[in-house]
Symmetry: C2
Subunit: 475 residues, 2 copies
């Protein structure tokens, strides 16, 4: 690890633990440089980073001070959810769409958005890659790689997996119109109408929509806000209900931000293999980790070809290009064929542009910057929640991605908060859209994928007050 | 009509009728110019066009002569199909995929292809449009028009319809990942698993795949090779079987090339409206007409919002960009929402590129050139079939699109021809993939969407001989 990072992390820990408190002055740069035997530049880099994380503030000619918000973090959620064990026919799509359509309006502060700020992406370099590749596209390309997608792109994707310890080849990959299409195709490949599918509780609403569209029943499994689905409960479901598949987000789950430790992923895959049950793994946030290395996907432990792993570039690089993929194990051919009859291919120039961008280098540098920025924004968001929300509010501490999940005081109606917020031109994602039974009535998902601004800070304060009033009304 | 076109059409008719025969010399340019009172340049233009159509050949210093192939056209198919009236669960996808995958191989002469030659498209101008727009894409665009797609593009599409007499607004249109996705979404919007859907006989195999994927039953309706589905038979089906929808290709149907006259389309929509049955209209070939104006889609007569009209730019402008759309009448919102959960959006830079290309002008000029080229290629193909296939072979005379449908002599096994052809590195599309019951056993669909070359000519000759031998074996 770089020296300034080590120093910044050490100081962060001191602030979080309360060893350094709000208003405390950090050691001067000269002093820190001497005592740690690092250059003054290294100290400066560390302090800048702490400032970016919102932990310290520079005062003119006076040095760096621990920020007044740095200590006041919300209570951390530590209990798994407790959904009903029975399967249920999903019938939630209409309501979800109405809420989402409302939040897509212009000039709404996007705390309820599912997307990070597009300004975080190297859109200019990507555009340059597209501009130069599209002119050199061979006309034949439009037919050549019809079945699985651009070969150069699949090669680049497979190489990245290999570096992360997931042994995938280019022929294991089917390029799709974003991860959403990949997930839908994988679901269609392993289920028939009427089947039951295990999902997390809470779960990403798009999984609920996909289940409903395919006439499937949902079984919500208890899910821990830190390390994901509970394996004991899952085994009971597998034994007693014989579902056709699981659909899980193993890394930085939406909405919880939970991540399964690697060993738990291994145990998950072994368990599913014992029951011969396919796993649809949605790993779109895997690259957005705040730790020191990419958490591997469950796919890394898949020896039986039962993991249908899906991801995309939409959250990391090229939102709107619609380039995703599936690595579907023994279902690869089935998924490729379903893709042909669903939409033929992804957009050929978009595939070529992403492939050219990846070849040109710079993707990892971009990702490092993006991760650091999202981490800093997470800290600002947690600080703001700690500051503006009622004390009883609980929150997750995601180690990646760009969502925080809030448990508001009992009695708060998240749907009503959504409506009030929208009237104030702020969006939030209310808990009930993340459950097949409309549970999580006093939960909210907030997006910290946008650079922190006065507007966002004020919006969080507004929501915090609304929640405070709603909680007080009930008491 | 332009003078040279009128002259060319008159001479074409004389050749087709046998008034001018193979080897006859056309009047000299000077003579024709004087007798018709047109400029010599007009006569030259007409003769060049006849040459492009394959009807005449220039001989050095001697003038133009009627081509030896010009008279020998195959017998024209004039009888509607006679499918079984019962509905059937569709189970054909595997076989179709195997045949299609085989034909996608490199270095295979693409007579079985579903695509026209990509070289026919203005790929360079389109690439320039993409290169310049992608650099100016506003980051927010990726979220802004999530529900229905790029506004400028929808505006341009709606305007084209308005000029053709179809009153559509930009808000009536949902942009999709090609027409294939539009058709799938429309099907999902109006059916539930187990429902029955009326299709043409023969029908485009992708419709069969979509039906199978959605767990739907097919009812094949008698279809005439010139003017499409038989309305009396359709009414009987509507009355007796109460299908959930019809899925038809009203203009230049794939594989027949049949087109419903405008009045028949009006009657079709009235009939379906009486039975409150939605029509999924696949109109991807509507712009590829050889006549003097675009045949209107059935959508033009839709007063009840029951026509879910689908089309794309893939066959006319931008193959591989994957930009299609649905104008789904009263189902517009349902289709937009299904699209969100299927794949979110089409590729944003591809949408913007097509919109910019359309705005820049030149699309109609390109289309005029494309239509003329396809018409000339149709004539070359029909001539070659007349020359190389057994006399008993019947063929359609499509007035648009780029497919001809052949009825080979009874006893010819189209699947075997496909296998033999593939061994000779030629693809054909065998009749049985166009039917839910594997009918049309001695039929073939040939693609004339590629500029005529020695290779294609030789390939048609090879297939003709195979068919001849197969027919002779049975006698």
């Amino acid at each position: 690890m770089k020296r300034y990072l080590a120093l910044a992390d050490e100081l962060t820990a001191s602030i979080r633990s309360g060893q350094l408190r709000a208003g405390d002055r950090l050691p001067s740069v000269r002093h820190a440089s001497r005592s740690r035997r690092v250059s003054p530049a290294t100290v400066f880099q560390a302090y800048y980073l702490l400032e970016a994380r919102g932990l310290v503030q520079a005062r003119h000619r006076s040095g760096y001070y621990v920020s007044s918000l740095a200590g006041a973090r919300p209570r951390m959620l530590r209990k798994p959810s407790a959904p009903k064990p029975q399967s249920i026919a999903v019938d939630i799509a209409e309501r979800v769409f109405e809420i989402l359509a409302a939040t897509m309006q212009r000039d709404v502060v996007p705390l309820g958005s599912a997307f990070p700020a597009p300004t975080l992406f190297p859109l200019r370099r990507l555009a340059a890659a597209m501009a130069s590749t599209v002119k050199r596209l061979e006309p034949r390309t439009s037919v050549e790689y019809l079945l699985q997608g651009n070969l150069r792109l699949r090669h680049a994707i497979a190489q990245r997996y290999a570096l992360d310890g997931v042994p995938l080849q280019e022929d294991d990959i089917v390029v799709t119109n974003g991860a959403m299409e990949a997930l839908n195709l994988c679901l269609a490949a392993v289920t028939r109408p009427g089947d039951a599918v295990v999902i997390e509780s809470p779960t990403f609403y798009a999984a609920l929509q996909a289940l409903q569209r395919n006439g499937l029943r949902a079984i919500e499994a208890p899910t821990h806000p830190q390390d994901g689905i509970e394996l004991d409960a899952l085994e009971t479901i597998l034994r007693e209900q014989r579902p056709s598949a699981c659909w899980l987000m193993t890394n930085f789950q939406n909405p919880l931000g939970s991540s399964m430790p690697d060993e738990k992923k291994r145990a998950l895959v072994e368990l599913l293999t014992r029951y011969d049950t396919p796993l649809i793994e949605d790993d779109v946030y895997g690259e957005l980790y705040f730790g020191t290395r990419r958490p591997v996907p469950a796919k890394a432990f898949d020896t039986a070809g039962l993991v249908l792993h899906c991801s995309s570039f939409s959250k990391c690089l090229a939102p709107g290009y619609r380039i995703g993929w599936a690595a579907a194990g023994r279902y690869t051919q089935a998924v490729a064929r379903l893709k042909l009859s669903a939409s033929l291919t992804a957009s050929i120039p978009a595939e070529a542009a992403v492939a050219a961008y990846l070849d040109s280098g710079g993707y990892d540098r971009h990702l490092r910057r993006l991760r650091r920025q999202l981490e800093a924004q997470r800290d600002r968001m947690l600080d703001a929640i700690g500051d503006y929300f009622p004390d009883e509010t609980g929150a997750t501490r995601p180690q990646g991605g760009y969502f925080v999940w809030l448990q508001c005081p009992r009695g708060v109606d998240a749907i009503k908060i959504h409506e009030q917020a929208l009237a104030a031109r702020i969006s939030v994602a209310p808990g009930p859209i993340f459950s097949s039974r409309g549970q999580f009535k006093h939960h909210l998902r907030l997006n910290y994928g946008h650079p922190w601004t006065e507007t966002i800070d004020a919006a969080v304060r507004t929501i915090g007050r609304m929640v405070g009033r709603a909680g007080a009304d009930r008491v």
